[in-house]
Subunit: 257 residues, 2 copies
């Protein structure tokens, strides 16, 4: 549909995409290594008999998981929007599942429209790692104090310049973001950091997680998070926690009915 | 240590073994395909410089997981029993983790001594499968009524002849076992069947799970489980649920101090 006049019956489809990121080099097309975007494009082409180029909301890194990433594409297929998920899931490998498909307005763009993003960072905090959660969590041997972590996380609530929590190799100029909610939840030997905001800088959730782990270990006092924010430089914050602990839980678009 | 006089300083070590069964052809040594037992033997030999043949408590099937299987072996190593776990974990692949090692009496045998075994069977009950839990649960699309499943499970409590819940290709004569506890727990879109007993027949937990799923779907009334028990034939029960949903949670030995 890219060339010539727009078809009258062309439509924009939104996909809600869940994936196990273990075996992918992230979302975005790469010259070396398979990505989620590539697998979606290939299977959509096979299904719809058109060249399809999806646009993803969040270009997750290698090894990062998602339960609700969002992608759009334009098509003139006659398959109803809400039926595409079923047909596409028949073709996709087991580690990528479309949770929902539906038609959206032609001007809806998953990165340009306002959204609330929610991430979960999972830590396995036990004496030994757990084989069955190793691909979906960061193993920390030393006991973490989750109450200190929650106290530290509270400094991140609201609008701040998160420059200290952004990997240095980024091109973004505006590093101000708003965190709506951040909670540290402990269940048995598992600690989840759940954070939602209007946007996240490159590696921001993983640097927040790495910093909160330092607090949980007692290496940083909780107030240190305020000092890190004030410094506005990456070196002030803790290390970037590993990819496997991160899951993009959901994306909400308040303006999308 | 197999030949000649027993060493005075020989000792029996118990391992508590957790593994992700996805990539193994079960516990027991196989001519074709790698097993957990084989990987333990090979790495113990490399660590202790002795031929080691572990004896496992539960010879789990291909694809079944464990958080607390138990194995023993005899050794004359000078490494203290409780330190072997640390040294062995350095060598093992990430999908097998020793949770505990310790010296036990020389007459302790993990299959001959009385034990309480606890299994969990996990069902992902949602509209679409979840990529991040697909290797550790059985995906069921149609909504399950977990209250009916709990009602049905109650018929299994106590001592019964579980012949109907045993795969036909077994050599066991005595099919009487005692279930101490069985619970069906629902959390969001996940249903766990947790069952503990003094022993389980071949495929028993998976046949119980497959039968309870039938009840949850409304295909069997809960009382049907009583009828299945009475019939004492495999064909009376529901299908065997898939391996990936099953996890051996723990083994307790009341006589082991």
């Amino acid at each position: 549909m890219q060339k010539g006049m727009p078809y009258l019956d062309m439509k924009r489809i939104m996909l809600r995409v869940a994936y196990d990121g273990t075996n992918y080099c992230g979302w975005q097309l790469q010259p070396n290594g398979i990505t989620v975007e590539e697998v979606l494009n290939r299977n959509l082409k096979a299904l719809l008999k058109e060249d399809i180029n999806v646009i993803g909301a969040s270009r997750t890194d290698s090894g990062v998981h998602a339960l609700g990433n969002v992608a759009i594409f334009d098509t003139d297929t006659r398959i109803p929007g809400d039926k595409i998920s079923y047909a596409l899931n028949q073709k996709l490998p087991g580690d990528i599942v479309i949770q929902e498909s539906r038609e959206v307005p032609a001007d809806f763009h998953p990165r340009r429209c306002n959204s609330i993003k929610t991430y979960r960072y999972t830590i396995q905090n036990s004496r030994f790692p757990l084989p069955t959660t190793r691909l979906y969590s960061y193993f920390v041997h030393y006991p973490l104090n989750e109450l200190l972590m929650q106290e530290a996380a509270a400094y991140l609530m609201g609008e701040h310049d998160f420059k200290s929590f952004c990997s240095a190799n980024t091109h973004v100029k505006d590093t101000v973001r708003r965190i709506y909610d951040i909670n540290v939840e402990k269940t048995d030997e598992r600690i989840d950091i759940i954070v939602s905001g209007n946007g996240f800088l490159y590696n921001m959730v993983r640097i927040i997680a790495g910093t909160l782990v330092r607090v949980g270990l007692g290496a940083y006092p909780p107030i240190k998070v305020q000092e890190i924010l004030n410094k506005k430089e990456r070196s002030a914050a803790g290390p970037k926690a590993p990819a496997e602990g991160l899951t993009l839980l959901k994306l909400e678009y308040p303006d999308l009915m």
